[in-house]
Amino acid sequence: MSPSKLYLFKVKRYRPNLDDRPFWQSYEISLSSFDRVLDGLIKIQDQLDPTLAFRKSCAHGICGSCAMKINGVNRLACQTLVKDLPTLIEIEPLPKLPIIKDLVVDMSPFFEKYEKILPYLINNEPPPERERIQNPNDQEKILEAITCIQCGCCTTSCPTFWTNDKYLGPSSLLKAYRFIYDNRDNASLERLQKIIDEMGLLHCHLALNCLKACPKGINIPAHIIKLKKFALKKALRRK
């Protein structure tokens, strides 16, 4: 297919019960221009060092397992082609989450944030016999937000989250948006109040890191700005 090339993968490692702190380990591997960073990691695990740990599952950018920091940017290893990077590739775990082993971080603090924003459709009216009507213009409003795969790239790239781990983060705010702007949902104001009270909306200072980090290309700040405007219009403030 395509000629292969040597790459140096510098991986930040941490082995529980063995290491006091993370250290860097280098691996040299040959990859083709069609290979992804994930292919490189698999090759290392298969051929050089089976003790290296990292998450993977779907391998085509829909499950969100293989989020990691690659050459300084949070991205999905399965969606990053090595040919788009220099031959020195530095890989670290997602920032500011507890490291379990090597590139595997504990995602529970990230997922727990969702549970604070009532992350489900709320509509207490008896459902109609058929589907609730949602015209294409209404759906357009949530179309980008529903593509989120909860990989964590955005939240762990956010400087507010780095300094305040209670902050809900862009990912949960986006999930709140997805329901607040769903015309079938009846709890918009309740949810909006929630993301204000829970150290959320008002703590976003638009550093815009999440804009660059999202592997699905979602314009997260635009969604957050819309939520902020909505909160202003409703004159909502912290209780």
Binding site: C63, G64, I100
Partner: protein, 577 residues
């Protein structure tokens, strides 16, 4: 090893659509634990692209009876018609219920659930394609999975994320619970329960080129098989016609549903020759074989081993609105814009029609006579009801997970008062610990990755779309060699926490088991039906083979029995499209 003990009314293995749908029902009757080897939203259901089949008739006239007929014919008449009829008629309320839960389906201009054409789905009993697949762009599985997970959280289902199942305990013919390893801590957890639901998904990873995620390794099927429980119709493994060349990543059938066509090296729309009426929208077994025939006869692109899926004639708006995900990954992985260039594709291992035999209530069968294991249930791809028979139609898999996931939960609630809380005997725990000990301390010259590659190679070369007795025999012999080599395995990672090498070894052990059961089933069936094509027996043989295969592990090797197909309305006829 540290051991923790939990008690729940119901323990569900797997957090894909089947497991989550079952959990939403079972939580109405008692406490529910869902165990997942991943974080729940990473489950492979999320990769389902095209849609859910339901005769809503939102875009044009449709009828559940036509859906029923299409599914029976698609299954090459091996599906059980009572179950298929139930599924197709339940499809409509099932999809409406999802919409009420919040699934963001794509919409028609009037705001109803949008529907698209899909392979093998027709109107007027085969006359022409019909718009039956209810979709959310080309991310339907993702949309439904996230919604069901949200509902499960709301309803206080308890999740145990990144727990690897090591044993499903059946003792005295009754389900007792599950033994699992918590990856994060390395601790052993015993879940004792009244009911156990296996909803662990497929096992496409036994093949080299597959659309399936890394996690789909089928250990739960193997765990039951090792206890002497049967597996049904394993010989029927679907190859999806359009996997991205070399990568195997799925390009949804919805791409052809929206008007995409397959072209060979001469630029011919070759499906017209193989399926004059449905053409590119014939069922998957037919299209996959056609593509490989074209390639074998030298009509691949530039004589190579792939064909083209051409979407360049479609309105770019359709690609943008209805097929954004596949457009995006064609650009990422191949540097190719499907609006401008055709996509190189080749069939990819996709879906197991066979699996753990169940009845319509999800109860796991112990024998061909219909007797079942009290407290043990299965749903989704790992199960075989059988609604897909010898070949599944596109967008019937999500439907299967939802309909029979719910049935499973309903039946558990009905029987909870008669089921007693299971007990996991110490000898089962000892056995599990001994196996982990073996993996971690064994000395030898074999590596997990080498053996896994060998397994995937054997299955790809000898047990994929075209099969012969000779090739299958060779595969069985080679699998036996692999089994011996497995005894010589040595791990480099001896640690207890997140030891992925040990998990891979464990998965490999079970994949070899499953592969052997699959090859054995394929050898037994001396006919060609649906996805099972024997070059030495190229015709369907209803006189001798209109029956399901059950394979069992016995002390003297694998044995088999047959179970009759349930035929209610549609008598087997010649299958042309």
């Amino acid at each position: 090893m540290n051991t923790q003990r939990h008690r729940f009314d119901t323990v569900i293995i797997g957090s894909g659509l089947a497991g989550l749908r079952a959990s939403l029902e079972a939580i109405k009757g008692g406490s529910v634990a869902v165990l997942s080897k991943l974080y729940p939203t990473r489950s492979h259901s999320t990769a389902a692209q095209g849609g859910i089949g339901a005769a809503l008739g939102n875009e044009e006239p449709d009828d559940p009876e036509w859906h029923f007929y299409d599914t029976v014919k698609g299954s090459d008449f091996l599906g059980d018609q009572d179950a298929i009829e139930y599924m197709c008629y339940s499809a409509i309320p099932t999809v409406i219920e999802l919409e009420h839960m919040g699934v963001p389906f794509s919409r028609t201009p009037e705001g109803k659930i949008a529907q698209r054409r899909f392979g093998g789905h027709t109107k007027y009993f085969g006359a022409e394609p019909v718009r039956r697949a209810c979709y959310s762009a080309d991310r339907t599985g993702h949309a439904v999975l996230h919604c069901l997970y949200e509902q499960a959280l709301k309803n206080r289902v308890q999740f145990f994320d990144e727990f690897q199942v090591l044993d499903i305990v059946v003792e005295n013919g009754v389900a007792q619970g599950v033994i699992a390893l918590e990856l994060k801590s390395g601790d052993l957890h015993l879940f004792e329960s009244k009911a156990v639901v296996v909803a662990s998904g497929g096992f496409g990873k036994i093949f080299k080129v597959t659309s399936n995620a890394f996690a789909t390794t089928g250990e739960c099927l193997s765990i039951l098989f090792e206890q002497g429980l049967p597996l049904e119709d394993l010989e029927f493994f679907q190859f999806h016609p359009t996997g991205l060349y070399k990568l195997g990543i799925l390009i949804t059938e919805g791409a052809r549903g929206e008007g995409g066509v397959l072209l060979n090296g001469k630029g011919e729309r070759f499906m017209e020759r193989y399926a004059p009426t449905l053409k590119d929208l014939a069922p998957r077994d037919v299209v996959a074989r056609a593509i490989l025939r074209e390639i074998m006869e030298g009509r691949g692109i530039d004589g190579k081993d792939y064909v083209h899926l051409d979407l360049t004639h479609l309105d770019p708006k359709i690609l943008e609105k209805r097929l954004p995900e596949i457009s995006s990954f064609c650009k990422i992985y191949l540097g190719l814009d499907p609006a401008l260039s055709p996509i190189p594709v080749v069939p990819t291992a996709h879906y197991a029609m066979g699996g753990i035999p169940t009845d319509k209530k999800g109860r796991v069968l112990r024998d061909v006579d219909g007797s079942y294991v009290p407290g043990l249930y299965a749903a989704g791809e790992c199960a075989c009801v059988s609604v897909h028979g010898a070949n599944r139609l596109g967008c019937n898999s999500l439907l299967d997970t939802l309909v029979f996931g719910r049935e499973t939960g309903t039946d558990i609630n009905r029987n909870l008062k008669d089921l007693s809380l299971g007990k996991i005997p110490p000898h089962r725990v000892d056995k599990v610990i001994a196996f982990l000990q073996f993996l971690r301390s064994n000395k030898g010259k074999e590596r997990v990755a080498t053996l896994r590659d060998a397994l995937q190679g054997i299955m790809m070369n000898k047990v994929s779309v075209f099969r012969t007795r000779e090739g299958l025999f060779e595969a069985l012999e080679e699998l036996q060699v692999l089994r011996d080599r497995f005894q010589e395995i040595e791990l480099m990672d001896k640690s207890g926490i997140f030891n992925q090498e040990m998990l891979s070894a464990l998965e490999l052990y079970h994949m070899i088991n499953l592969a052997e059961a699959l090859v054995f089933s394929a050898l037994v069936r001396e006919e060609s039906r649906g996805a099972h094509y024997r070059e030495d027996f190229p015709e369907r043989d209803d006189v001798n083979w209109l029956k399901h295969t059950f394979v069992y592990k016995t002390s003297s090797g694998i044995d088999y029995k047959f179970k009759p197909v349930v035929i209610t309305k549609f008598k087997p006829t010649e299958r042309t499209f």
